[in-house]
Amino acid sequence: MNMTTHADGSVKVVPVRHYGRWVGGFVALVAVLMLAHTLISKVPTGQVACRTINAVRSCDKVVNWRFSWNVVFQYFSTSEVFHGLVVTLELTGLAMVIGIVGGVLLAIMRLSQSRLLSSTAWSYTWFFRGTPVLVQLLFWFNIAALYKTMSIGVPFLNVTFIHLTVNSIFTPFNAAVLALGTNEAAYFSEIARSGLIAVDEGQIEAASSLGMARGQTLRLVVLPQAMRVILPPTGNEVISMLKTSSLASAVGVIELLAATNNISAANYEVMPLLIVASLWYLMVTTILSIGQFYLERHFARGASRTPPMTPIQRIRKDVRGIVAKFRTVRPERALAP
């Protein structure tokens, strides 16, 4: 029996001590606590900052919290903010639908054998990625300056099927949806293309050898496998779109940021209302991230031997680990003389 072995034959193992990690963790914890303290601390009496210009409010009675959380809570779920949030969600949703459908079509065009189709798709992406989305937004909003009316017919012949006046179509909201959606399509086409070319050529050959048509191969074999590659950057794009939609306030769409700005323009509570907007953006982003996790898990099937654990599974595993630890401790005590 050598020195490291206990009487019962077990060996004591000393894990590596990560001193640097402990110090770093401690610094981070202190920083977080300091930040948390600034969020909730009261201003010491005598230094009361009178931030409300509105004469009705007296300084000593009302806002002695620097962040004016009471103002935040007061406006957090007012109908104006709520309407703004709904418009933001509508903008994000519609623009993403245009972006994803358009992007997948552009990616398929880009990969087409036809030179005409692939160069059209390339030019589209070149144009819409090459100019700022804010410029595109203003462009769509002001498009009536270029085209008074729009019609669908045969070019250069006097045949028209549909005829519309431009100003009736390009309302601020429609212009914003179109601008955000067409811009997104350019970016999404690259995401979709990367997913499509990531699928092994052999998968397509196997589908062909079974007699599947091109459309079936794309729908049943290529796209489901491309999703695994497409999803993570798509989650990024949706979250990015949620926030980019605030640009729509530039053409007068009352979305979330415009709604809170309107309120603070009347009561001068700029910071609390920006916090209101930020909290809502954060909440929606959180929900989207959770959705993304489960979608990715769904499309990862077959790709890796063990799919990533859900948070619930992880907690269960941790609890089981802790319970197991206690169980193994007890018999040792019992064995001790």
């Binding site: 998968q203 196997a206 062909s208 050898s209 079974l210 048509a213 489901p224 499309f299």
Partner: protein, 260 residues
Amino acid sequence: MTGVRDRDVPMVEARGVAKSYAGIEVLKGVDLTVNRGEVTCLIGPSGSGKSTLLRCINHLEKHDAGELRVDGELVGYEARNGKLYELNDKKICEKRSHIGMVFQRFNLFQHLTVLENVTIGQTQVKNIDRDAARSRARELLARVGLESKEKHYPSQLSGGQQQRVAIARALAMEPKLMLFDEPTSALDPELVGEVLEVMKDLAKSGMTMIVVTHEMGFAREVADTVYFLDAGIIEESGDPNLVLTSPSSDRLKIFLSKVL
């Protein structure tokens, strides 16, 4: 299949089939005849054109010249009024669905379970209803010895198991001809046997098979005819016992001395 005429026509007939990639001639006029119920092995060094010839037969590659017929019908074209009309996608798909193919890298659909891999062709291409497709799939999985793996994904199987699923997937289409493109080349040596066993059983059942392979033992035991390709030309062909034991061309002598 149907009719008396079909019985007399070879399953595959190639006359002067040629194919080039970017100016490089891979096949330089190949003649080949595969009769019904026969096993044909294509052997030869890498780059000799064996796989290309195989892929021309189910039109995964287009041949540039020569005449290629499967079951008496031209591959990829239709002769009408003294002209050759290129077939459209739908007709090509229909013809491919009667020819099974097994690949070197298995190419199982990674996102589908074993059972789904074997049913997808039946339900999507042959429009067989799901339950019938499943029971046929289970039958075939039992035949290749994998009935217990139907819920697994391809990534959870060994190479040999994956290749056996791929054979079952191809058989599910009830093909009249099976093409094997180096089916054991990507396998660990100890897994080669289980795939070859399945292929031997299939040969015994009377399936017409064309096998590109480096397994000379299999070729000698199972093949009715062996073709030796080198640099896009068939150097030698005939009964495997003759071709593989007493080769007449120097090229084949050198090849066999390296492979055996």
